[in-house]
Structures are given as C-alpha cells and as structure tokens.
Amino acid sequence: MPANFSWIRPEPWGIHVVPADCWIDPAREVPHALVTHGHADHARGGHGQTVATPATLAIMDLRYNTREGAVPVDYGETIRLPGGVDATYLPAGHVLGSAQILLEHAGERVIVTGDYKRRPDPTCPPFQVTPCDVFITEATFGLPVFTHPPIEGEMAKLLARLADHPERCILVGAYALGKAQRVIAELRRAGHHAPIYLHGALERMCRLYEEWGIDLGELRLVSDAKKDEMRGSVVMSPPSALNDRWSRRLPDPITAMASGWMRVRQRARQRGVELPLVISDHADWPELTRTIEEVNPAESWITHGREEALLRWCQLHQRRARALALVGYEDEDD
C-alpha cells in the first residue's frame, strides 16, 4: 500500500506543504516560503517569511533585500512548522548555502532536493544521502548523454589554452552564483594564482563567498583594468555578457563557457563558444540514477528538466516514479 502523502501537493508554481501552508521554492510571492538555494528560479523576494540556510539568506538579501522575515536554519537543524510538519535542511552540494529539505509529517518522510550534485565542490559541503519515502528530485541533466567529465581535465584544458595564447585572454562565461566562484576556486586548486578579472555583475557575489570563508585569490575588476594588463589572463563574466559589447574592451578574448550543456557540440556552437568547458553544478545522469538507488525511496517525483528519460529509467528499474510539471525552473545557463 503506497503512502498517501496528501499533505504535500505539487502545484505549477511550487510545492505546497498543506498543513503548514508553506511553499517550497515558490515562483510567486507567498506568506511562508521554504527556499532550497539562492538561484533566481528558486529564490525570489517578496515572501512574508523565508526559511533557508544562513548562506542562502545572505545571498537572497544581496539580491532582493530580503532581510525582513528571514528565518535561518543550519544544515542538520530541524524546525517545527505549523500543522505538525518538521523541516530539516541537509547539504545538497549545488552552490553555497544550497540545501535539500526533509519534511516529516504523520510518519511520512519527503525530501525535496532542490538542485544538487554529487561531485566535490570546494565552495560548499557535499550532498548528504538521507533515506525517505518520497524523493522529489531535479532532472536538469536527466538524459543518458550527460556524463560530466572530471573538473580537473576541464581546468587543464583552460590553462593549456591560456598558456598557448599569452597575448590573448580567456573569457569564461559562468553563472554569477556558484559556477563562477567554483571555477575560480578550482583554478586556484589547479595552481593558477594570477589575478582573475571580473565582470562587474560577478563582484558582489564573489565578495560574499569570500565573507563566507571561501578563498578566491586575487580578483580584479575589468572596469579598473587596462587592456594590456589582461593579456594572458582569465576573465569571468555572466553568460549573457559573452557576446555583448562589453567584451570589446578585452584583449582578443577566446570565448569559453562553463556549463553542463557544453557536452553537446551544437549547444556550444549556438552560443558561439570557442572553448567549451563541461562543468555543471547539477547532477549528471549517472549521479541522478545513483542517487535514486542510494536514497532508495518508495517513490521518486521528478521535476524541472528532462523528466521523461529519468521516468523511463525508473520504470526500467521497477521504481515507482512520477513527473511533476512545475513552472519557472529553467537552467539554460548552467
């Protein structure tokens, strides 16, 4: 007899925790929100109350001035919501502050993963496998063609290209929250200690990461730099600035992009990328399927991404699963 779980309801604009009248990552303003992490498609301003990890709240405050109504919960900490629902925040390994939310009610356990990955990331603690009855998982890279290569190889590729072109610079497009800082931290880990230049849109988030104890080495702003000084350097920008007029101030940039989508050649070509770096903060196909096996839930609910293929995989492996149609989750830039 499968569990009932009528107290948790997926709606198009978020997951509704009915007894507590709370919403998880709602796409519109609600009185009570539980937020998994700071990306704009999950976190937004304007809620009456926002429950999230302290780092996520700091990120949201930076982006939306959401100090009011902020309720911090540390990893491993449980808070009691109205209606007899307990919520525990567990590391998701996606970006700084990212959490899975474990909900317990009437003896039933539900985990909402938000976005997650299983690879090591120097900027956040690793995903924690936790048993549950219903596992609500993301599926951004839910196709078997997606196997992200080890990040060390991608860093080596970037640094080799940099060494080959000392008169140029490499402009790396990366998501402003998480990806950019992870790439910088990984470059440092790979022994690249030269100054890294930033598009203005990345500055505040990098500073925030540093305040949270993540060492990013010497960072300079492109707007403060002379063209010649940036030759032979790594420059970071949000993906939207890659082909923008902004890049004209750079010394003959080689356009790179750090994203899981770079695995597919035409995707990289469409964006005019010369140096694709297959780096993702989302679980790839082997990670998604391994995680379902390890968590071993009675049921998996699959959201945002390529639900169909993961659903098929569950079916092939005799695992109960359903696809949820949630709006507003897109991750074209990851």
Binding site: G153, A268, R306
Partner: protein, 536 residues
C-alpha cells in the same frame, strides 16, 4: 586518432577561416603518413565504408541502450554519431590503446555487414567520447566541421608552401590517402602524373572592372551568362564535369558527360534550355537558355530522373578551351584559343554545346550602351578579356574583367537583426528587411523580402548596431525585432518568385547599397514594385 579527434573538435568550435586554415595546416605538417592523408580525405570528399552507415550505428546502440532513452537522447543532441559517442557504454577517459587514423581506416575497410556488429564496437571501446565521435564521423563520411574541400586544400598548400592551384591540378589524379601529394609537397618528390585522366584544371577568374575603361583594340567583350561556370574534361575515355570549386558534378548532369567524346578540357557556362533566350540570337546560338531559377531545379542532386532530364535539359555555352587533342593551349593567347574553340564547335553535338558570342562594339562607350540596354534574364553582364591573355589559374590583374550589369535597387525597411560571426560577433550585422504589402498609411504590413550582411562600412556598422539596440521591440532568441523606422536602399542582381518566402519573392545577391537615415519608412517601396521586376 586522438590528434584527429582534437582537430575535429577544434574545427567545430572555430569560426574564423584563418584559424581553421592554421589548425588544418598544423595537423597536416605534424602528423605522419598515411594518417594525415586519410584525415585530409575525410575533410575533403569524405571516406566511404559500405558496411558502416548511420543505421549501423543506430543498430549497435539499440543493442546496448534502451530504445526510448536512445530516441530521447538522439532528439536532444540532434546528431546520431554524437549521441552514440556519448551513450557508448565505454570509458569516459582515454583507454590508452587508441588506434591511429590509418589503423582505424584499415579496420573500417575490412568490415562487412556480417561482422560490423563485432568489429566496430572493438574500435569504439579503444576510444574516449571525443575519439568515438571523430571515428563515427569519419566512418559515416560526413564530418560537418565547417571545412570545405577548398579550405582543406588551401590549408595543405599553406602547410607546405606550395600553390593551391597546383594542389588542385594534381588532386584529381590521386586517391586517398594522397601519399604522392605529400611526397611532392612535403618531401620534394616529382609531382604526380596527370596525363591520361580527365582532371580538373583551376579556373581563370576575373576582377571587377569598376571605374576602369579599357581599349577594345586590346580587349574583347563577351556576355557573362547567368548559369554556373563549369569545366568539362575528357581524357582516357572518360568525361567529367567540374564546378567552379573543382567539385565533380558529373552525376548531376549525365547528359553532358555523354556529349563530349573528344580529348579536351573546356570552360563554359552550364545552362538549361528554356523558352526565353539570352542574348541576341546569332548563328552560334542554337537555342534558348532559361533563367537561373530554372537551372536551380537541377543543382545539388546526386542523381537525376528522366523527367528532370527532359524538362530541364542542360547545355554548355563555351567560353574557352584549355586542352585539345593532347595539346595544352593554356599558354597561348586568347585569340588562338578562341580560333581553336570555333574550330572545335562543329565536332560537338549542337544540342549540348554552343559558343558564347563575342559582343562587337567600335568603342568602349558603345559597349557601355549595349550593357545598359540589356535586361535579359540569362545575362549577368559583360566579360572583357585581353586578346593576348594566356589561361592562368586564379585572378591575375589586367587580363580578365567582369563588368556586371547595374544592380536593381529598392528601398526596404529594417525588420530584424542578428549578430554576426567572428570579428562581428558582438555587432548586429545581419539584417532582414521588408517591403510594404500595400499603402502603409492605410495599415499595410511589411513582408520580409531579403537578408543582407554586407555593403556597409565599419563606421556604418557601428551606427547600425546602435540603432538596432536602441530600437528593439522584441527578441526571439538571438534575433532582435526592431521598430519599423530605418530604410535601406538594397541592391540585388535579380528577383524571382519563390514559394519558400512569405512575400513570394527571393532576391539574388542582396546587399545594402545605402543606409537611408533620412528617409521615412512609409516612403519605402511596396511588394508590387518588386513583383514588377520578376522575370521568370
């Protein structure tokens, strides 16, 4: 195979022509024989292995991956070889015993339908994902890395400091892996023998005349016909038809292969017969030519139906003769070659060949009048050839000039813009423009009539880019829709009826003639104006 895979990937992500040349040249210089020859073959004509087809790959994967997961993946990736390379249940990192290109080719050649299911997996298991992609692309004969055969040959010439025309000349005498070509270019061996084969000889090309005037005592005028420039070569009992780029298009026009049985290499314009003739009729023209639009029905086909052959019969209007009855005439002056050509004509079947007539005029100004008066659909303009010019490959200053007829002009309104490539990658430099479908003051709409990305200066481009950014009303992915405020004076060679476009019209060679910053959009031309210019 790793180096070849790296080359393929680098080419996929490189847009600049110079950078592509550099990549291919570096590879050809540093890779041993015969690997580099096979790679060159793969990049130019492609290799053919009868046992390995796209369906072979699909079947291999169906045995290893759930068919639903395969088709979902294939749909997303959009390329069978790439999907297979990613889905192959093999190592993600390099296994360490990767085959060389020639080793892979040797295996692929020996594969049969019966054993491909065992042999191809063995090769794939020895490669990482990028290697598998390169192998499958090479095996199925379609690299699609944005490298034309001409670019690969130019890179070859650049790699070894030889002339690309010589490369072209020897190319067709050889077969992959082109060992003799590398021996000649890289190791100084004597060039390959080209005697008894119907080989392609590089075309002689013309410079635009522009504002120059020439003396008709030194130069002869000919019509420039609006078909496709071709070369017909017959040697050793075989005839081949080549396009301007040196591609063998014999299979597309089999009637021409049958028509030439004399050992010769001829230069001319391929046209199809049509009711409305080009040029003034004279004793040398035995029938009419149709417009380029009609010829287009025959282009790009690998095989032709009997219906096509009878509805659009092809013929060649001859311009020149390069070789005849075993003699190379290319060093001789044009007048002598012309006499040889005129002497040859009676020996050729009249339904397949005629001669491009010489246009006679007493003076250059008379010629200008003749050119101006021509609105014939099959004529692109005039050619001016020095009477003493030898037939030399490429464009040599002062020998041949093309004098195209003046373009047609209409005023169009900018509708959409897209960013360009390479140097222009941050600029909105590709423009779609339209004409009004009625009176704009009575609520008429603009219908797109063409697209252009040339004809303006860098300064103008900057201003146009600014205009697009400041007047965007809508975005569709990379495309910006602008408000209907800017008028372009668009130049084009001709306009044809087309079912592919909403306006029902297609322009040939549209380019921005002038940007009319001054002109209000409602004064731009209407569709009706363009319709009146159609001459199908």
């Amino acid at each position: 195979m790793e180096e070849f895979a790296a080359l393929v990937d680098a080419l996929v992500y490189t847009t600049s022509r110079n950078a592509k040349l550099q990549l291919v040249a570096d590879y050809l210089r540093t890779t041993p024989d015969p690997d580099r020859g096979w790679a060159l073959a793969a990049l130019t004509e492609g290799l053919d292995f009868p046992a390995v087809k796209s369906s072979t790959i699909r079947n291999l994967l169906h045995d290893r991956v759930d068919p639903v997961l395969w088709s979902l993946s294939r749909d997303f990736v959009g390329d069978t070889a790439e999907t297979a390379s990613l889905l192959w249940p093999g190592p993600l990192t390099r296994p360490g015993n990767a085959p060389t290109v020639s080793e892979a080719v040797d295996h692929l050649r020996l594969m049969t339908r019966a054993n491909v299911g065992v042999e191809l997996p063995r090769l794939l298991d020895r490669l990482d994902a990028d290697g598998r992609y390169a192998l499958l692309k090479l095996a199925t004969g379609a690299m699609r890395v944005g490298v034309s055969a001409r670019l690969a040959k130019t890179a070859f010439a650049q790699a070894f400091g030889v002339s690309v025309d010589e490369v072209e000349e020897y190319w067709h005498a050889l077969q992959s892996p082109y060992t003799a070509l590398f021996d000649w270019a890289a190791n100084g061996a004597p060039p390959p023998d080209t005697g008894a084969l119907p080989l392609f000889r590089p075309f002689m090309l013309a410079h635009p005349l522009e504002d120059l005037q020439v003396d008709l005592a030194d130069y002869v005028a000919e019509w420039k016909w609006d078909g496709i420039r071709v070369q017909l070569a017959h040697a050793g009992g075989e005839t081949r038809l080549y396009s301007r780029s040196g591609d063998d298009i014999t299979a597309t026009f089999p009637e021409m292969a049958d028509a030439l049985t004399i050992p010769a290499v001829l230069d001319g314009e391929l046209l199809v017969r049509g009711s409305h003739q080009g040029g003034e009729a004279n004793e040398l023209n035995q029938g009419g030519a149709a417009s380029f639009n009609a010829l287009q029905q025959r282009l790009g086909r690998k095989s032709v139906t009997a219906k096509m052959l009878s509805e659009y019969p092809a013929f060649v209007r001859l311009y020149d003769v390069l070789l005849l009855d075993g003699e190379d005439l290319r060093e001789r002056p044009w007048t002598e070659r012309r006499a040889a050509l005129e002497g040859l004509l009676p020996r050729l079947p009249g339904d397949r060949f005629d001669l491009s007539a010489v246009v006679t005029a007493d003076h250059f100004t008379d010629l200008a009048t003749i050119r101006k008066g021509t609105r014939d659909e099959a004529i692109e303009g005039l050619m001016l050839k020095r009477r003493d010019s030898p037939y030399v490959a490429g464009r040599r200053t002062g020998l041949w000039y093309k004098w195209k007829r003046d373009p047609l002009l209409v005023d169009c309104v900018l509708m959409y813009a897209q960013r360009g490539n390479g140097r222009r990658s941050s600029f909105y430099s590709d423009y779609t423009f339209g004409c009004w479908d009625g009176d704009p003051d009575q609520g008429a709409e603009l219908l797109p009539v063409g697209k252009a990305y040339s004809g303006f200066t860098d300064e103008e481009l900057k201003r146009l880019d600014r205009h697009v950014r400041q007047n965007t009303v809508n975005r569709f992915g990379p495309v910006r829709e602008t408000d209907r405020s800017l008028v372009f004076e668009v130049a084009f060679d001709s306009v044809h009826a087309s079912k592919r476009h909403k306006s029902g019209l297609a322009m040939r060679f549209p380019r921005i003639h002038r940007v009319r910053w001054d002109k209000p959009a409602h004064e731009a031309d209407r569709i009706a104006t363009l319709l009146a210019m159609v001459q199908d």
